[in-house]
Amino acid sequence: MEFIAQHPILVVSLVKIAVLLLLVLTVLAYLSWFERKVIAHIQSRWGPYYVGAHGLLQPLADGLKFLFKEDLTPPGADRFVYVLAPLLALSLAITTLALIPFGPATIHILGQPTQLVIANVDIGLLFLFAITSIGVYGVALAGWSSNSKYPLLGGLRSSAQMISYEVSLTVSVVGVLLVAGSLNFNEIIEGQRGAFWHWNVFRAGHGAFPQIIGFLCYATAAIAETNRVPFDLPEGETELVAGFHTEYSSFKFAMFFMAEYANMVTVCCLATILFFGGWLSPFPESWTWQQYLPAAALLVCAAYLAYDTAVNMRGIARIQLAVVTVLAAGIGVLCLIPAVMPVIQGPFWFLAKVAFFLFFYVWTRGTLPRFRYDQLMAFGWKLLLPVSLVNLLVTGLVIIWPQLGRHG
């Protein structure tokens, strides 16, 4: 007992982890709903509609379905690895989130300073990469252990693909590191303080170079890294049934599913932090009214929901949507409380940006066709890597230009 008293940090961390886990799991669940909705609308369909208003309860249904499906293991499968793979995938995917700062380094909750991050590591970025780099095993092992040819091919592809694109991913990020001069997320974000033109994507002048190309490379590599369309060869239905997780069913499959979304989230968070100023607002700080924006956004959202509830919904759906509306309104009002207002700023902007990128993800999936495998590799090695290298080179030159001038 007194051991815990000695180490309050442990308690706080545990609380944070609990909260984050809860949040993330729900978010992941709803991401699937979000994706299906968006895709549906892109393809001018309705998407999930019947389970709850706007299919809002669909994720719950899916979850239940996964839980109750028979969990079978193919004969001759390497049991241990077969079980290990999905665990590895999901746990690693979620672990990365522990490094993501959702708000400023020090804010006060209930009067005591707290960080909106579980582990503020000195070299957070490297750690994040470290963890994601292990993520490959989930897919590879899954493909190998299920003792079946499609998964094997899928695993091979994915491991090859992930290794290949990891390189250009890292290289494209290094440009940002040069500009920021730190590996710590908070410092990187603080470096971009100011209006949106101080973000690393656009930032120019005095030792900085717009990382727009870097960002594009990063985005592409990230999509490939998360095995998403148009780089979802490992699970290309048309040639490999479902790739590495063909043999998986029930909850193990769900794990892979969630792992994929978790990776998406991580990648988006990273993009936000590195290129788009993390939890910083896009407006100059002199504009004091912006602190009302979160509340305003939520209230507008609530207003629309209320209208929707009143006009379109019937029966049980109306009640459900009403609940959602009340929730939104409530949070919106909550954001107006002076004590909460400063706390909510960072997370709001952060989540907003992340949400945008997630939408972007789905968007690409809805738009682009799948690559052929050789095209994929060629693209990765012959185009992406050189471009990101050149970007790195140029950035470095621009940054050391002043010294050069001084010396020569």
Partner: protein, 169 residues
Amino acid sequence: MSVPFILFFVFAGIAVAGAVLLIVAREPIHSALSLILVMVSLAVLYLLLGAEFIAAVQIIVYAGAIMVLFVFVIMLLNAGVEERTDWSKLAKYAGLPLAGFLLIELAYWLARPAAGMTAALHAARGMGAAPTRALSEMLFRDYLFPFEATSILILIAILGALVLAKGDE
């Protein structure tokens, strides 16, 4: 028994277990996994030693790249259970016992606080985490030439791998 001790013993145990697994496992993939285990736990130990950067690199390069390559190759060649042929009498009667002896010997002689080691201990207490910045400065200033040399080495390795993989075409 403070936290570092606990951590050390836990992860040391994991590392040793992983190494033993590597030996006893008959499926190459299991060996690979156990080796990954060793590497990760070593990374943690590096953290304990305050070498954050090395820890990260250890995981990224070793666990994240090299071992992935191993796994990849194992999958590619579909390496099954290794056959326990025993044709090398020398290895059987001399190699293994001596290897064991080597293990014990080294462990024994490093266990006793060697000359100057105790002093080093106290020095170690005071030191904080090895700052990545200082490390990078040392790497790019004092060790610049070796660094470049290794880059060349890597390039050559890539070319060699390409040539070998291309085979006779």
